[in-house]
C-alpha cells in the first residue's frame, strides 16, 4: 500500500527525536511487546524502516511471527494512525538478494545499514541517547493496513 505524503512526511528522516513511534509485535502465541523507536524512515512510500539498535523481544517476536503495528507516540497530534503489516528484520550478514516483501536486503543495508550516517544519534538529548550504538540491521514493516486510533473511530480503515 502506498502511503500518502502526510504519513511519509511524518515518518521520514528529518531531525533526530522528531518523531517517536511504538512498534508493537507479538509472539506466535499472542504475547505483545510495545517497543519505542526513536528513528524511522520510509522506503518506496510503503515500507517503514527502523534501525535495529536495541531490539530484543521485538526480534524474538519477529523471528516467529512476522507482523507488526506502528503507532505514533510523540508528537501525535493529527497523526492518529496504526500502520500494520508484515514486519521483519534485515540483518547484516544476509545475502544481498534476500527478499522481504519485495525489498532486497542489499538495497536496504546499503542505504540504512549505517543509520548514523543519515541521522545523527549524538544529537539526541543526553538522557535519551544511548552511549554506544551498535546497529545490527534494519527492521522493515510493509504497510498493509492503515487504521485510525482516534477515540471516536478507532479501528476504522483510513486507507
Amino acid at each position: 500500500m502506498k502511503l500518502p505524503k502526510e504519513i511519509v512526511d511524518a515518518l521520514r528522516i528529518k531531525q533526530p527525536d522528531d518523531v517517536i513511534v511504538y512498534l508493537t509485535t507479538c509472539s506466535v502465541d499472542g504475547k505483545c511487546n510495545v517497543s519505542p523507536q526513536l528513528f524511522t524512515d520510509v522506503y518506496a512510500d510503503e515500507f517503514i524502516l527502523m534501525p535495529d539498535l536495541f531490539a530484543v523481544k521485538t526480534k524474538i517476536n519477529l523471528n516467529e511471527n512476522r507482523v507488526g503495528v506502528v503507532t505514533i507516540a510523540h508528537p501525535a497530534e493529527g497523526k492518529a494512525w496504526a500502520l500494520r503489516g508484515p514486519c521483519g528484520h534485515i540483518e547484516w550478514g544476509l545475502p544481498d538478494n534476500y527478499d522481504f516483501q519485495g525489498v532486497k536486503a542489499g538495497d536496504i543495508l546499503k542505504k540504512w545499514g549505517e543509520w548514523s550516517e543519515k541521522e545523527s544519534f549524538s544529537a539526541l538529548p543526553p538522557d535519551d541517547r544511548p552511549n554506544v550504538i551498535a546497529q545490527r540491521g534494519v527492521i522493515v514493516l510493509k504497510v498493509a493496513d492503515c487504521l485510525s486510533v482516534n477515540l471516536e473511530d478507532s479501528g476504522k480503515k483510513v486507507m
Binding site: 530484543v56 547484516w92 552511549n131 545490527r136
Partner: protein
C-alpha cells in the same frame, strides 16, 4: 573461587577454532535457553566472559534472572566441567561505578569491550565467523561453583 590453570587454558583458546562453550540461562519462570558461544575468556581467575554479539533470549533471561551455567562444548578432551554462578551483561553506557560481584564494569570493558582487537575475526574459521562483529559488551559470570557433567559422576562438585 579461583579457576585452575587447566580450566583457564580450556576456556581461553585463541585462534584455530578456539574454545566453544554452551551458556545456559533461564527466564524468571524457569524456561531455559542453551546457546553455543565462541568468544570466551577468563578475567582475574574467577570470572568468565563471553562477547555479547548476538544475544537475544540470553539477554532477556539475564535481565530478569541473572544466573548462568557454562559447559565446555569443544574441545572437551575429558574437561567435562560446568561452571555456575551469577551472570550479567556488562555494556558500555552503564553507570561508571556499576559493579557486579566485585568486578567494575569499566575495568572489564576497558579490557574486553573491543573483542576484535584481542581476537581478530580473521582468526575464526570462515564457516563459523560472524558476518559482521557488532559487540555490545560482554556476558559476565562470577564462577561460584564448578561441577562435572561427565555421565558417570554428573553433578559432582569439582570446585
Amino acid at each position: 573461587m579461583k579457576l585452575t590453570d587447566e580450566m583457564k587454558d580450556a576456556l581461553m583458546i585463541i585462534g584455530a577454532g578456539g574454545a566453544v562453550v554452551h551458556l545456559t540461562t533461564c527466564s524468571a519462570d524457569g524456561k531455559p535457553n542453551t546457546v553455543g558461544e565462541r568468544f570466551v575468556a577468563v578475567w582475574k581467575d574467577e570470572y568468565i566472559l563471553i562477547a555479547d554479539m548476538f544475544a537475544q533470549k540470553t539477554r532477556l533471561n539475564l535481565m530478569e534472572n541473572p544466573i548462568g551455567v557454562i559447559t565446555i562444548a569443544h574441545p572437551v578432551k575429558g574437561r567435562t566441567w560446568a561452571f555456575r554462578g551469577p551472570t550479567t551483561m556488562l555494556q558500555e553506557g552503564l553507570p561508571p561505578d556499576f559493579e557486579f560481584h566485585g568486578a567494575k564494569a569499566k575495568d572489564v570493558l576497558d579490557e574486553w569491550g573491543n573483542w576484535a582487537e584481542k581476537e581478530p575475526p580473521s582468526e575464526v574459521p570462515p564457516d563459523i565467523r560472524p558476518p559482521r562483529l557488532v559487540q555490545r559488551g560482554v556476558m559476565f559470570m562470577k564462577v561460584d561453583e564448578v561441577y562435572s557433567y561427565d555421565a558417570s559422576e554428573a553433578g559432582k562438585r569439582i570446585l
